[in-house]
Symmetry: C2
Subunit: 332 residues, 2 copies
């Protein structure tokens, strides 16, 4: 049985969509057991009795707009997300799933679950959309504003194993996010990371990838520091939102175009869906002593179900031990 | 009369589209005079006699895929782009327009035209699309991989004056590209730049802007170092290309959707055009002793015409002297 601790109160549409996603997952997978953390009175209306579901009541939960999660953690450890993480730290569960605020997830990961001995840094690794619909792993999207070159290698190894086991890519290709495709491009840290990634026999490094190739690159993993990764992710998001609005404005601008849009309703819906990475799963926390999936803050029940499914797969495939195995064998 | 030195051989579709763009501009503006640099035999077929057009024959021109423009410049200064820049350095013309390779433009700007005394660094500043179609200025998109915090201020002042005179924005708003909107976010250089930009009385600084707001922000200028700016620009480009392809795939996926696409042909064309920043103009080189406009490498004649128009406006509005005036008065 795979045991999951789930934060019932994180996310813009919690607890309703979270609870619905949990019930959907319990009905779909008979090998999971869920402990749901949160306010039982607020969650109750959206839950049904289930033999593999139990509730851990917590009165407190984190505000989605929280500005200083470190200060909050120091003040109060009773929030639903932190309590769920406690269970993971104590090995009472195999993974945590939350749609709570990203920076609070990073704080909890660092202080409660703690760094894996074999890793020097942790990273936040979202799945970004790709042309083939299978997604790619982007990291670090914000756990470490700056990274040293050796950290790139540890994280690339972790990401490579996940790309293999979760995204089912054979010998996953690792690309370094950079401003030019030739060797020698970028900041000093990028050039140094390039050399180390190239030397590593544990990964399949394919060189620098410029973000203008982000949809076309054959890389399954795109790596940089947390500042750059975050900028890439948010630039993609901002561009997709902006283009979506301009497209909508055009499609509703005349009688004929409205009819046109009606005729392609199904296709436009599928177009929108293809950009939605939560169809594939949430962001992962790499480098800590456990599996943590951070679903998108605006997750509906199906997106949250997908994040649960992803956590289940990562536990089932024993990602954590496989990463430790490779890193233990690695020569510094 | 505004005198322009134009590189006739730069760009993926040179010399044909460049020559056509030049003729279009000469016919439109009777206050410009063009000196066209390049191979007269190759350009000839696309040119007509014009009283305000003269040719400076150069046998050599830069390959669009050039990998090491510095080495090339040291070896051979007779390329059409470098010769055009010579004329600007010698004050024989008021501006240079080229669609040649960006890094070569930066090299020529640095070695031939040289840095303005009042500026500590130069920057490449493209215009990026915006929801209102007026565009925004992004900088640095790649002249300096790293910048010190004080350089942000000089460059922001330059960009502010251009946003005012070229994009006709009153009291232009300056945003610092960052991974969070609150003060204190980002790398040490971002936090330091934030403080200096906030202190400056020469600009209207509105704080940190996350790239997920890139289409919605009210900022008219978005500033960061050349690594980050380049990553933002290329992430936008890559996302737009990827989404365009997915959309096209959907729109041609069924009989009905094809009819739908036909009904909204005009709108889809306008949609595509709204993302094309070359409708507004090319990238500018800030911080040097002259006006240089770098049109997109894949410019057609109309895009190149727009770049010429932009150079004309910047000369007419006396951008360079206005920047010098402000910087001369500035207390360090």
């Amino acid at each position: 049985m795979i045991k999951l601790a789930i934060d019932g109160m994180g996310g813009d549409f919690a607890p309703k969509e979270i609870c619905k996603g949990v019930i959907e997952a319990l009905n779909k997978f008979d090998d999971i057991e869920v402990i749901l953390f949160g306010d039982k009175d607020l969650m109750g209306p959206y839950l049904t009795q289930h033999p593999r579901l139990s509730i851990e009541h917590t009165k407190d939960y984190l505000d989605m707009g929280i500005e200083n999660p470190i200060a909050e953690y120091r003040k109060n450890k009773e929030h639903s997300m932190f309590k769920a993480m406690d269970y993971l730290a104590l090995n009472k569960v195999d993974a945590v799933v939350t749609a709570g605020p990203t920076q609070a997830v990073a704080v909890g990961a660092q202080f409660i679950i703690k760094k894996m001995d074999q890793m020097r840094r942790m990273a936040i690794a979202p799945i970004i959309p790709s042309l083939d619909g299978k997604g790619k792993i982007l990291l670090d999207s914000g756990a470490n504003v700056e990274l040293g070159a050796p950290h790139f290698v540890d994280l690339a190894i972790y990401a490579s194993i996940v790309a293999n086991l979760l995204l089912e890519k054979e010998n996953p290709k690792i690309g370094l996010i950079n401003i030019g495709s030739e060797e020698g491009k970028g900041r000093p840290v990028d050039r140094e990371a390039y050399d180390l990634l190239k030397e590593s026999s544990d990964i399949n490094f394919i060189g620098n990838i410029e973000p203008k190739e982000i949809f076309h690159t054959e890389a399954d993993v795109l790596i940089s520091d947390g500042f750059t990764g975050n900028i890439v992710m948010k630039s993609m998001e901002g561009t997709a939102i902006g283009l979506g609005e301009i497209l909508k404005r055009e499609l509703t601008s005349s009688f004929l175009s409205k009819i046109g849009a009606l005729l392609m309703r199904k296709q436009l819906k599928r177009f929108k869906k293809s950009l939605d990475a939560s169809e594939i799963g949430g962001a992962m926390l790499f480098g800590i002593n456990g599996i943590v999936i951070k679903a998108h803050g605006n997750s509906n029940s199906h997106a949250f179900y997908n994040a649960i499914k992803q956590a289940r797969t990562m536990v089932e495939k024993d990602v954590l031990n496989k990463v430790k195995e490779v890193l233990d064998k690695k020569e510094v």
